[in-house]
């Protein structure tokens, strides 16, 4: 029994490291085989490894920031407005929706749309309380900062910090499946936002950002893997993530070499990276990613 455990641990460790070193210079980025780890083995991933993976997932604030840089105007059409926080029967629904609305909150905060953010904040509060993590969500202060419009940084700090605390609490209290759901919800909504915007504003930078999600998609699947056999809801979500992954399979990410350039600026250091990553993705591949993301995201918010 002990020997078997050691074997499983070594296997998982080897697979984890192969994931980290998969992207080589001047070589294509390929999916590591980590996602083929049997569910039982993936479950043995350490808490530290899961914490690291959860940190790698793109922040919706980054997506919203990119949209602002590209001068994309705000649109409420991208939000998951149809979600009713009172009609989330299961812990699965609550946690996933908490993630989806967290991404929407990030988008609203960045565009300083305070009126809408108060509605979403109320839903987040209900869901957080329903998941018994309401104590980490400082609703009143976030609401005050939203209405004041005076301090975006404090608002972002407090919003992101609340989610980080919830995530940590869930993982520390053996409710890691809810933490994974929340993170998957955040990512999926961010991906939905980016893919919907790119239809109207087909900027190459935004296209690249969508293609580059291939880099972290495997990590996202690793977060879900331990729970795929838990129940039918999780099983279905795992299949959906595999469908998204399949759409990314033939997208190539290559790298060019270069040395960073540094210069002292205002008492600090400014470093310009000259290495680059290049995404090779056809319009047809992008269209498929847009479509599949929309189908899966809409299915999940409708089920709710």
């Amino acid at each position: 029994m002990r020997g078997r455990l050691v074997f499983i641990l070594i296997t998982v460790l080897l697979i984890s490291f192969s994931c980290r070193n998969s992207a080589k210079r001047n070589a294509d980025f390929v999916f590591p085989e980590a996602d083929s780890v049997p569910v039982g083995e993936a479950e043995k991933l350490s808490a530290e490894a899961i914490e690291e993976i959860s940190k790698n997932i793109t922040s919706p604030v980054e997506i919203a920031n990119l949209l602002q840089v590209l001068a994309v105007p705000y649109s409420p059409d991208y939000l998951a407005s149809s979600i009713d926080a009172n009609k989330q029967p299961t812990a699965f629904d609550k946690a996933l929706t908490l993630g989806i609305l967290g991404a929407d909150l990030g988008y609203l905060n960045m565009y300083e749309k305070t009126g809408s953010s108060i509605d979403i904040l109320s839903s987040i509060r209900k869901l957080a309380e329903g998941t018994r993590v309401g104590q980490f969500f400082d609703f009143e202060t976030i609401k005050r900062l939203s209405l004041n419009k005076s301090n975006l940084d404090s608002l972002l700090l407090l919003s992101i910090d609340s989610y980080t605390k919830i995530d940590k609490y869930l993982r520390d209290n053996e409710r890691g499946q809810l933490s994974s759901l929340m993170i998957i919800g955040v990512w999926l909504e961010g991906q939905y936002l980016a893919t919907q915007v790119v239809k109207e504003y087909p900027d190459p930078i935004l296209k690249d950002r969508i293609g580059e999600q291939k880099i972290i998609l495997n990590d996202l699947i690793m977060l879900a893997n331990p729970y795929c056999n838990r129940d039918s809801e999780f099983g279905s979500l795992c299949k959906d993530l595999q469908i998204i992954k399949e759409k990314y399979r033939d997208i190539r990410i290559t790298y060019t070499l270069g040395e960073p350039k540094s210069v002292e600026v205002d008492g600090g250091l400014k470093v310009e990276q000259t290495e680059t990553s290049v995404v090779e993705m056809t319009d047809a591949q992008l269209a498929e990613i847009i479509e599949v993301t929309k189908i899966i995201r809409n299915k999940l918010i409708t089920n709710n």
Binding site: L156, L157, I160, I205, Y255, E272
Partner: protein, 144 residues
């Protein structure tokens, strides 16, 4: 009686303010110091005892950084920190992408602006200068 109520009101308000700012004050201060163009993304609270060995920076965390994004990495120290917080970032091939400490001049910069052109998962390595004991926070923001 009036004084009693005023004191009670004052204590209640103070309590509410403290509750409302449960975020680490050093993190808040460090975020604010990043300037109006910086938008907060993440923070890493670093507390280390004095190192018995030299070499590798001890606190490690992974983070995905994205092409065409300008990041600001701020390093802030607690008042009682003996050492100064420094940062080195390595890419997935373990190549140093940036360091806030210039070994040639011996200068440690309080912040680094990084113009990223290669998306990927990077390792942020924090420590205190010369392996000193210290307490600080590393804040990651986006800048325009």
């Amino acid at each position: 009686m009036k004084k009693y109520f005023i004191t009670l009101f004052f204590l209640f308000t103070l309590g509410a303010l403290v509750m409302g700012q449960a975020t680490d004050p050093l993190v808040s201060k460090c975020v604010m110091n990043a300037g109006p163009n910086a938008k907060y993304l993440k923070d890493f609270r670093v507390q280390l005892s004095k190192s018995t060995t030299t070499g590798e920076l001890r606190y490690k965390a992974q983070m995905s950084l994205w092409k065409n994004t300008k990041y600001r990495f701020s390093m802030c120290n607690s008042e009682d920190s003996k050492g100064q917080l420094i940062l080195t970032i390595k890419d997935d091939a373990n190549k140093v992408v940036l360091s806030s400490f210039d070994q040639k001049s011996g200068k440690a910069y309080p912040f680094v602006i990084f113009e990223c052109y290669k998306s990927g998962i990077y390792t942020l390595n924090y420590d205190f200068l010369d392996g000193q004991q210290g307490s600080g926070v590393g804040v990651v923001s986006m800048v325009r």
